[in-house]
């Protein structure tokens, strides 16, 4: 039981905001849903009764996910307001990287790639003049297509976009041939399909 609880904590931890359903947990752990639910309940009790824990389990529409303890909301708010908080610039940087390499690209496509909502970082980048609207996507909605600006090239010391260092998938590591990042290949296929 203890071991199963530890496994569940690990699994819910790494899956982040996505969480896992009981069915997914069943497949991964090869345990019965009854035992899994029991272990999750035990974890919940432990989180609630221990003064040390800063996390809790939230169930939403059949998906279990770890979240920070509600009692600590105030400190999380302080984190968000702290200007040295990396996450904010990290989000902007990730978004910028995607746009630089995949432009022209819509917000939805950026969000698919990052796996999180990206309105804020997009606004930040537009406000900073690093990206701008370069056109509209075909089809319903005619979503805004984003691309980088000259200001972006300036800020990053680039003559042109060709000067961007190549992405991992574009460089073939001498021994990696053939088994290069399967995920990236898959990802690019999907990406191409979406563009068609």
């Amino acid at each position: 039981m203890k071991q199963l609880m530890s496994k569940i904590e690990s699994l819910l931890f790494v899956t982040g905001d996505d969480g896992l359903t009981i069915k997914q947990l069943e497949i991964i752990t090869e345990e019965h849903s009854k035992d899994l639910i029991g272990a999750i309940k035990a974890l919940q009790n432990d989180y609630a009764s221990s003064g040390i824990r800063g996390i809790e389990i939230k169930e939403l529409a059949g998906t279990y996910q770890l979240i920070s303890k509600k009692e600590n909301a105030e400190i999380i708010q302080k984190l968000v307001e702290n200007p040295t908080n990396q996450s904010l610039s990290q989000a902007s940087l990730e978004t910028l990287a995607i746009i630089a390499y995949k432009q022209p690209i819509t917000r939805i496509e950026v969000e698919d790639l990052r796996g999180v909502k990206s309105e804020r970082p997009l606004h930040t980048l537009v406000a900073k003049g690093l990206i701008h609207e370069v056109g509209r996507a075909e089809g319903t909605g005619r979503a805004i297509l984003y691309g980088t600006t000259n200001e972006f090239l300036n800020a990053f010391g680039l003559m042109n976009l060709q000067e961007l260092p190549p992405l991992p998938d574009e460089v073939v590591d001498s021994e990696d041939d053939g088994q290069t990042d399967l995920f990236m290949t898959k990802f690019q296929e999907t990406f191409r399909d979406q563009q068609d």
Binding site: V14, D17, D18, T21, I27, S87, L88, E94, H123, F156
Partner: protein, 259 residues
């Protein structure tokens, strides 16, 4: 004392030399140049296909091996000089080669340690930062570190990829395995309910993934069989029209669905 080796297995002439030294149990501080050179040449000859670029590096090394060998044959001064004297003078023609080999060996071994570090690192995982944007104030929108450069951007991209490695199978492999006709029947019911009990056939297939398409199709057939829905068509080639015939969904009624 000849044996086959794949030259692609070597990272260059220094790597090949270290291999030979190890294989021939040679003392790296007293290399018998004649023997090593012969062995090295044999291996170079055994190279079948090699890029010109790389071949030149092996050939340059071959040339310097020959040069060292011939220098060692030259008398330094009149009279006999034994090996020890030669070394003590620090003028041994092999010196430079030996120090290069030793230096390279250091980093070759360090590379092995790095591989171990990499493997240990693969034993644990971090989690993506939580989405805290709801807690942000509007004024924070413009926060962006101006000192960031292209490499920081690449780093951020790399971090995202590492994170997505965990996500990929969650949305594909596992999601697919758990998709059942039973679940999909319910999902079709809810879609219809949301749209006021009626929608077009193609609206029920928003996901373009083969497994989902098949399972959705099967679930529609099952719903028709149970007369939960009805499917009609006004004119030839027009989209099919799907209509809901029941008001409420009852889980018990699904007991008899074959998976």
């Amino acid at each position: 004392m000849s044996y086959k080796v794949r030259l692609e297995a070597f990272e260059g002439p220094l790597d090949l030399l270290l291999h030979l030294i190890h294989r021939l149990e040679i003392d790296i501080y007293d290399i018998p140049m004649a023997e090593l050179t012969v062995q090295y040449m044999d291996h170079i000859r055994a190279m079948q296909v090699m890029e010109l670029n790389e071949a030149s590096e092996y050939l340059v090394m071959a040339a310097s091996l020959l040069a060292i060998k011939s220098k060692m044959l030259l008398p330094i001064h009149e009279g006999e000089v034994d090996d020890l004297d030669l070394q003590m003078e620090g003028q041994d023609p092999r010196d430079e080669l030996v120090s290069r080999l030793i230096e390279y060996k250091k980093y070759k071994e360090a590379a092995e340690t790095f591989q171990e570090l990499e493997q240990t690192r693969a034993q644990y995982f971090t989690r993506p930062p939580s989405d805290l944007t709801d807690l942000q104030h509007i004024s924070q929108l413009s926060f962006f570190d101006d000192s960031l450069n292209v490499y920081d951007m690449l780093g951020a991209f790399q971090k995202m990829l590492r994170r997505n490695v965990l996500k990929a199978p969650l949305t594909t492999k596992i999601a697919r395995q758990e998709l059942s006709v039973k679940d999909q029947m319910q999902s079709v019911f809810h879609t219809l309910k949301k749209r006021g009990g009626r929608c077009s056939f193609s609206d029920l297939f928003p996901v373009h993934d083969k497994t989902t398409l098949v399972v959705t199709f099967l679930s529609i057939l099952e719903l028709m069989k149970r007369q939960y829905i009805t499917v009609s068509q006004q004119n030839n080639f027009e989209d099919l029209d799907v209509q809901l015939l029941i008001e409420k969904w009852e889980d018990e009624s699904l007991e008899t669905v074959d998976e």
